[in-house]
Every structure is written in structure tokens, then in C-alpha cells.
Assembly symmetry: C2
Homo-oligomer: 393 residues x 2
């Protein structure tokens, strides 16, 4: 097979600009390696709410399911609605200009999707995508790049060589558990969500984690709160069964989530692969990625039993720098590499991409997020960074 | 009032030895300041399981409730049962000595309470104590001591001056929510716990947090996962209501828990007071205390609407160094200072204790956990450290 259908989800904030850089890079890669990526865009997030009234419209889902793989930038945050600019500009010469703060006026230009009802928020689209595509396993590597060690707030000797893979369950837990809601009981509002896992959900994520660990350092740490939670007790029992039976060579340990949050800071090198539930994984994978100090460099993969996976950077949509050619496209480019490796079985091409990213760092190119004072490197924008990678590819 | 009833809960592991040092210090303080602490011990944790068949026996609860305040060391871990030593020693000369690993033999001497059924685990005693004494607010300061900055794994410029107070809700959330359990549904095991808060629970912790924030830097950051969870949405709404209405001078912000886990590492100085639910607070307060790099120095307070509070170090029972005079008693001594301040209204005496702790650090005394290679300080044990503090008091 040498032609692949790829759905691109540019999303919100800096999403479109990093996607554009990434497309250029993938274009160059196709030419060099003689295979074809038929890339087609679809809507998700705030832009989907604005254009289709749904944060993940059915057309997007269908298109994703038909593809060989999906590449997602980032979603959410807010957007500046320049359509209202003429009205604001028209008001400026009026006397009220002096009465109303210019900042207040500008605020009218900002669309905050977060204040929408839940079904019209960008995050809801993301959750719908994960659930409807069956993406139950989220792989989030937190690997320190030697070129960027000093970007970490942790001491060099603590982060040097850190290479942790967090395997997070993505379609269960308190994220999707029912019953849930906000009710009024005896005149008091009560909010609740069910933290729930059944054994098949735990088994399949344990298998993915066992597999990942066996291809890495062979060490798996399962994180839970089994000293307090029944759901964690089941988690611990099932993970233990699966790993000892099906992955006898993987060295399994267990850790409570509060301790894991500490140990990641105390001595992150003790970890190889970690596996945990959806909400603990949300917290710990973000903590782990901040350790390495270069969130703008970290890719992630969300995969299911079969069918296309979704590959996306760990960073958010950074609306404050959107449209200013300041974003770092490298995490998305590395996500594309993960896509090539995991979904398209193109390990060679994945290597080429990853090496190209290392090469631009070695050349001393840095976007603002990874530029350190006095590092002697050259500050570049999103477009220039993308071009540099494409040139090497 | 100048006589107070204090219940001491020495607990497990290093608990008894740090409690003994702390008693000496409190003894010296009484002499100097002319007030009387009538201290009486009670059982909690593993030792309570072994001696009374209950991790928090009713007698302990009654005694705590009758006191003016409660001082707790730490619970859980494991203990080495020296009673079995003669049997093991008797086996050693036999030929099986060469067959059985000596390590395996020693393992028979270890009592692991963690493998008990849930109602006979040390943690269950702690949870029972919190719930039955109505200790809904847990205050956990994470303050960097200038003498110990280099003990942190974070860079000096990142942690210097960090002073965060985490206010954690302690008697609600998924810790105590029902329904909960492990059931078999359609032949599959399902584990579940209910993440639940009602508005009065949120209101009262918000009030404590508002009060704490207004006495500190005036900034409060409430942490939740309102973009996904209904219970967090209610949390956010109620916290906003309480703070804007009753604490107009407190500057309130909201942060998602995954982002908070990152921001604590990226730039902890942005935080003054944080407030969050039980499970997020468990994770974030441990993360925050590890940031400052001297867990052995951090006290905590658990308080209710009225009645005695419980004051305890943030660290665990460290069974690996128990009984070896290596433990650091300073966190417990600082917890006693919090007790004097919050429960006994003895701010002056609290100050004396806190200054005495700073003074022994300035003298260059260090227990192993806070000793840094090449810091030129003197390594001391638990007893010597306690004596040094008592001498200054
Ligand atoms: C945006 C949010 C719903 C999402 C999550 O909590 O899963 C995000 O934090 C992530 O980690 O992908
Ligand atoms: C021991 C455990 C039940 C407890 C908790 O989770 O509350 C501990 O981690 C703590 O923070 O005091």
C-alpha cells in the first residue's frame, strides 16, 4: 500500500498554522519517499461549533473513520472575532471612546466557547471523538531532548536522560461514568460523576501497556488509589493478572497516585512505562510533560483496538499567540511521525521525520517557547521552523 | 485557660520516635511558658490493628473528641515482627538454610497491613478519624525554607520564596461517595466509587479557603475539572459564589487540575492559596510538598467546624528507617506549632517553636533526609535533633 487517506483536524488557536507547517513537511516527505498521503481537512472544536453548531459533527466522525489515520492540532481556548472590529472601530471617534475602556471594547471581540453549555464546548468534541472512535489508549511520551534540557525547571542532573511513557486509559473512568449530573436533593444542589471501570476495560489497556513496556525498558508502573478506592482495587487486581500472565518479562510495580505525583518530581528516571486511568492519567501525563520542560515538543497517540488512531501534540491551542507566526510546529510534526510509525507502518519515514526535527534543533533554530536566554540559538517563527524541517526531509 | 488536654497518636513506623522527641520539646515549652499540656496517648493505624483489632478504635475516637487537640505522627507501611526472630534463628543451622534464601526468611518477619481486608488497614483508620471527627478542611503549607532550598530537585530560582498553602477538602468526594463497591454485572467485575459533593460541603471549605487566603497573600486559586465533570461544575459555581460574596477582597481564579499539576512545576511562585477537592488535593498537595524538597519539614492541619483538630506531618511512616534514630522530628514539631496556633490559640508559643526549628537549621544540624552532599552541615539523629530544639525552646 502506498496511498493513505489522512484526515487533518486543524482545530483552534495556533492549530491551523502548525497544521499548515506540518502539511509542508509531509509534502516534502512524500516526494522523497514515494508514497502518497491524501490529506483532507475536517472540523473539530471551537471552529466546528462556529461553523457547524457541533464540536465534533457527524461528518467529521465519518470522515475520520474512513481514513487510515487522523492528525489533530489542538482545540479550545478562545478566538478573537475580527468581524466585530468594524463596529468597534466605528465607535472609537465617538465621545464614549473616552468613557469606555478600549480593553472592554476588545473583550466584545473575544468568543469564549467555555461559557457555552457543555454540549457546545470544544472539549466535548474531543471526548466525543475519543469515545466514538474507540480510542481507549493514549500514549504520551515525556522524553527529554538533550538540546533542550535547560528548558526544564528541574535540575539538569534530575531530568537528563528522562524517558517516561505514560499510557493513559482514555474512554472510561469518571470522564464517561454514569450516573452523573447536578441534582437538587432536599433543597441542596448535589453534583456527581461515577468513577467506574469494568474488567474488560482494564484488561485491554493493561495489554497495551504491557506491550509498550516490553518494547521499551521492560518496566511498568501501574498507578491507582487502591488504598481508598474500590475501582482502584479492581484496577490493581486486573492489571496484575494481565501482566503476570501475558507479559511475564515485564517487571510490574504499583504506586499510589499521590506518591506518583511526588516521585515524578523527586526522581523521574525511576520510571520507564506508567499505566493509569483516565483522570489520574490526565494529571500525571501533564505533570510528566512539564518536567521535561518542552511541552511544545511532545507528541501523543490515541489508539483503539483497530481502525484509525488520532495523533496530536500534548500542548494546548495557545490562543494568545494564535495567528502571529510564533507557534512551535514540532510537536505536531513529531505526532505525524508517531502516525507514520503506529498507524501507517512506515517506521522508516517516521525515523526520517524525527531525525529532521533533531537536526533543526542541532542547527540552533528555536521557536519562542523553547528559546532560552543566552543559549546562542536563533529565534524563528512557525513558518520558518516548518520550512527548515521540510528542507532537511 | 492554661491547661490543655492533648491526645497523642504515635502511630506506626518512625511515628513513636518522632513523637517522643516532640514530647520533649513540648515539655521544655511548657516549662518556659507556664502552661500545661496534659498529654495522653491513643492508638491509630497498624499498631491499633495489632493491639485492638481496629485501625481507629472507639476508645481512641472518644479520647480525641474529649481533648482540646490531637497530634498525630504517621501511620501505615509495614512493621518487622521481632517475635518471630527466635523461630527463624532456630531454622538457620538446619540444611534448609542453604536452600531457602535468607531474604525469604526475613520476609516472614514483616507484617504487611496493606494485604489485610480494607476494614483492617491503617488508612481506613485515618479516613474513619477524619470523618468521625468532622475534619473537613486540610491545610497543607508548602513553604521553602531558605536553609533547605538546595534539597529541591527544582532550580533554585524556581523554588526560592515559594510559599503555597493547599486547602484540601477532606471528608467528601470519591473518598466517601456512595454507591461504591465491586460488583459482578453480566459476568464481568465492575468497580466504582461516586465522586460527589453537595453545595454545603463546597461552601464550608470555600469559606475556610477564603479565610486562609485573606490572611495570606489574598489570592485564591480553585482547582477542578469543570470542563469534564458535573461535580466540578458545581464546585466552581459554589466557590465563585462564596468568595465573591463573602470575601470580596480575595482575588479568585480557577484552574483545571491537569494544568495545575503543570503550573506547580513551571512556576510555583504564581500560587498563594489553592483550594480543591479531596482526591485532587491529595495529589496536588503531595506534588507541592515535593517541590520544596523537604517533605520531612512540612506540617499539616486537619480541622472541622468546631471541636479538636488533628495536626500531623505530611510525610509517611518510613518503615525502612523506623527504630534506627534516623527520622526527622521537625515536621511533627512544626505540626505541634500549628496546633498551638490554630487549636489552643497560643500564637506566641507557636512562634517560639517555629523559631527554634529555624535556629537548629541555622546551627547546621541536619537529619539524613535533609542533608545535602557538601553542605558542611552536621548529620544528627532524631533524638539529637529533638534535644537541640528543646534546648533552644
Ligand atoms: C480538554 C480536556 C477534556 C482533555 C482531557 O481532560 O482529557 C485534555 O486535558 C487532555 O488531556 O487531552
Ligand atoms: C493514606 C491515605 C488514605 C491518605 C489520603 O489519601 O488521604 C494520605 O495519602 C494523605 O494524604 O493523608
Amino acid at each position: 500500500k502506498d496511498t493513505y487517506q489522512i484526515t487533518l483536524l486543524p482545530g483552534d488557536g495556533i492549530g491551523p498554522e502548525i497544521m499548515s507547517s506540518c502539511k509542508d513537511v509531509l509534502g516534502a516527505l512524500q516526494k522523497r519517499c514515494g508514497f502518497t498521503l491524501e490529506m483532507k481537512e475536517a472540523l473539530i472544536g471551537g471552529v466546528a461549533i462556529d461553523e457547524a453548531g457541533d464540536p465534533f459533527p457527524d461528518e467529521s466522525l465519518e470522515q475520520c473513520l474512513k481514513s487510515d489515520s487522523v492528525l489533530l492540532s489542538c482545540i479550545g481556548g478562545y478566538k478573537v472575532n475580527y468581524n466585530t472590529l468594524p463596529y468597534i472601530a466605528a465607535l472609537l471617534p465617538l465621545p464614549i471612546y473616552s468613557l469606555i475602556n478600549i480593553h472592554t471594547l476588545i473583550c466584545y471581540m473575544i468568543v469564549q466557547w467555555d461559557s457555552n453549555p457543555r454540549e457546545l464546548r470544544p472539549e466535548t468534541g474531543l471526548l466525543k471523538m475519543r469515545k466514538s472512535m474507540g480510542l481507549f489508549a493514549n500514549l504520551r511520551p515525556a522524553k527529554v531532548l538533550s538540546q533542550l534540557i535547560d528548558a526544564s525547571t528541574l535540575k539538569r542532573e534530575v531530568v537528563e536522560g528522562v524517558d517516561v511513557m505514560v499510557v493513559r486509559e482514555l474512554t472510561g473512568d469518571v470522564y464517561f461514568g454514569t450516573p452523573k449530573g447536578i441534582d437538587v436533593v432536599d433543597g441542596k444542589r448535589v453534583g456527581y460523576n461515577n468513577m467506574i471501570y469494568d474488567e474488560t476495560e482494564i484488561e485491554r489497556i493493561a495489554r497495551v501497556a504491557g506491550d509498550v513496556a516490553s518494547k521499551r525498558g521492560g518496566k511498568l508502573c501501574s498507578v491507582d488509589k487502591a488504598n481508598v478506592l474500590d475501582v482502584s482495587q479492581l484496577w490493581r487486581d486486573v492489571v496484575t493478572d494481565v501482566i503476570t500472565k501475558d507479559f511475564p518479562d515485564v517487571e510490574l510495580s504499583h504506586m499510589y497516585v499521590d506518591n506518583a505525583a511526588m516521585q515524578l518530581i523527586r526522581w523521574p528516571k525511576q520510571f520507564d512505562t506508567m499505566v493509569t486511568g483516565n483522570i489520574f492519567g490526565d494529571i500525571l501525563s501533564d505533570e510528566a510533560s512539564m518536567l521535561v520542560g518542552s511541552l511544545g515538543m511532545l507528541p501523543s497517540a490515541s489508539i483503539g483496538e483497530s481502525g484509525p488512531g488520532v495523533f496530536e501534540p500534548c500542548h494546548g491551542s495557545a490562543p494568545d499567540i494564535a495567528g502571529q507566526d510564533k507557534a512551535n510546529p514540532l510537536a505536531l510534526i513529531l505526532s505525524a511521525a508517531m502516525m507514520l510509525r503506529y498507524d501507517l507502518d512506515r517506521a522508516e519515514e517516521a525515523d526520517i521525520l524525527e531525525k529532521a526535527v533533531e537536526a533543526v534543533l542541532d542547527q540552533g533554530l528555536r521557536t519562542a517557547d523553547i528559546k532560552q536566554e543566552g543559549d546562542g540559538c536563533k529565534l524563528v517563527g512557525c513558518i520558518e521552523m516548518g520550512k527548515a524541517v521540510a528542507d532537511i526531509v
